[in-house]
Amino acid sequence: MELIIILGLLASAFAMVFSKRLSTLIGNFSMQSFFLSLFSFVEAIKGGHIELYLIAVLVFVLKVVVIPRILLNMVQEIKANENLGFFINPQLSLVVALALTYCSWLFSGMIFVNQGVLVKIYGAVSFSTISLGLFIMVFRIKALAQIVGLLTMENGIFLLASSVSGGTPFIVEMAIFFDVFVGVVILGVFVYRINRLFVSIDVSKLNRLRG
């Protein structure tokens, strides 16, 4: 069961790398978060604590419903050009993504030496989600893509925390959720400002400060 969910997580990360339009990217992010909430729900059933259920629900509400909604609204409101803008074309991106995933597998094997294969897979998927998120942040031109990339990285870390290290303490988890949410809102505010001042949300235009 968990393996399928994990596979879904990884597949949606690849779908994000392959997305050409902003709305597709956000949709794929939402799908990934859905798998993540499913995963934490399964963990909750195994653990049986009320707090774990609460976390699963929060993941669902925040990352599957609210944040994608905010991002999609933003896309509509600023009438952004839907094309994501590639610094690296999709085919090459796929090759890089595969390489990153393989490296994550090796890295996971290095860290979780004395653990079963399942833990290694969890680790590999987490690390590759993190690195794919970073990849999207660096090699996509639209400012919104950077927000989605950051959230993807956070998804990867969340997966690692809940699968391998037995979850973070409840209060910390809540604080992190709060932080993520506030972060998205603040980044959103700045996307509006960039759009107003630079008449586009291409980060390649942000090149005034140098040296």
Binding site: M110, V172, F178
Partner: protein, 486 residues
Amino acid sequence: MQILLILIVPLILAVLSMLVRNSRTRANITSLGSLLGLVLSVGICYQFIVTQKPIFSFNVFYVDALSLFFVFTISVISAAAALYSQGYIEGELAKRLMMPKQGKYYYCLFNLFVFSMLLVTVVNNLGLMWVAIEMTTLISAFLVGFHNTKNAVEAAWKYIIICSVGIVLALLGTILFSYAFLFSTGLKSLNWTEIMVFAGKLDPNLVKISFIFILVGYGTKAGLAPMHTWLPDAHSQAISPISALLSGVLLKTAIYAILRYSLIVNNCVGSAFGSHLFIFFGLLSLVVSAGFVLVQKDIKRLLAYSSLEHIGIIIFGFGIGGPLGIYGALLHIFNHAVTKSLLFFGAGNIVSGYDSHNMRQVRGALKVLPFSGFMVLIGLFALAGFPPFSIFFSELMILMAAFGQNHFLLGTTLLLLIVIVFSAIIYHFSRVLFGEKPKDMPVIKEPFTGKMAFGFLLVFILVIGWSMPYLLNGLIVAAAETLRGI
């Protein structure tokens, strides 16, 4: 209990800033409140020096000498910045660079920013510490992008994105630490005190990998090269009192986080691993800053790159270690915070007086702004490491530690880089300060509160050059003992 008091003061001030209508009253409240915060933190530091007992409270806070040293530094700089803000913000309001409503937001964010930095230094839970550091980024992003110009928004965007990526990596490091702890002891905890107890039992390889993530992650926030790219943008575009806070204490809170982890790492794998990394990043930061300082045109960017240099010196000092190296690095944290804040205040007055950041257009600042110009002149020599000012002594200690441990090559490299930055800074600033003032430029009158802020910081720069105040010395000695694991 007192810790709670220290944290509550800025929170109350933030609420009051939103409620009070009159802009002058609002500014006074923040200044007085920040001074109260300073008094409270001096009280708690004094109490610690007498009892020498770390303070636990509510199972959330853990405060030892290391935390208190940072609390004290933050309180000093925030009090000075609050005083300086009074005149500065009034000037901005008078010039209509800022709307009256924005003044309200400014003071609210200012106090929240101070609160978040204080929070970093007193929490015990490493996860909460992460949250607090992320909070400092989110709050200060608004203060960086406050003016809503193209440059300011670009700087704020880069700041928030680069630091968030860094901090996500730090979260990964935090999770790996908690996994290492779970794996070796079977216990689930993120409390620093608990992990510290079992530090010796953790898996060394895992700890090493986690620490690299922590160092790169929080190092981004501390402005270590090559992750420093946000720093000059953010420092130059932020409102001047905030530039002082960013450079003076925000970078240091990230260093605090790194030091907390390095204590665990040192206990687990020995001190060589951490110290090699520290020396590497320290020297790299120095090299990068030396290059950029030489060719700089923007006065605030110049100061930002000089912060990079000093962060490099501090980390280098911790890397060299030993009683003298660590004492020197801690003292350097305080000295740099005080001196750089003074210079950012001065640069702020120069920039708003001339309406330009460009050092080629600013001439004769000593004649146009007699008071700030003179303060900048003193601050400049202090910053460059001229005796008898405070920074000279802390740099000397770090150099002596390096040579004392027979690191001749490292010590010489450090000295050479310091000299390059020294001459570049003196060269750039001498052209700004001296020379004929532009003909149509009147002599600018400066507000009294601003002068008080300068005077307040100058006392520290001068006094520490001659003798160590009892309180600061006690704190640094105790903090250095904590760091050396005694």
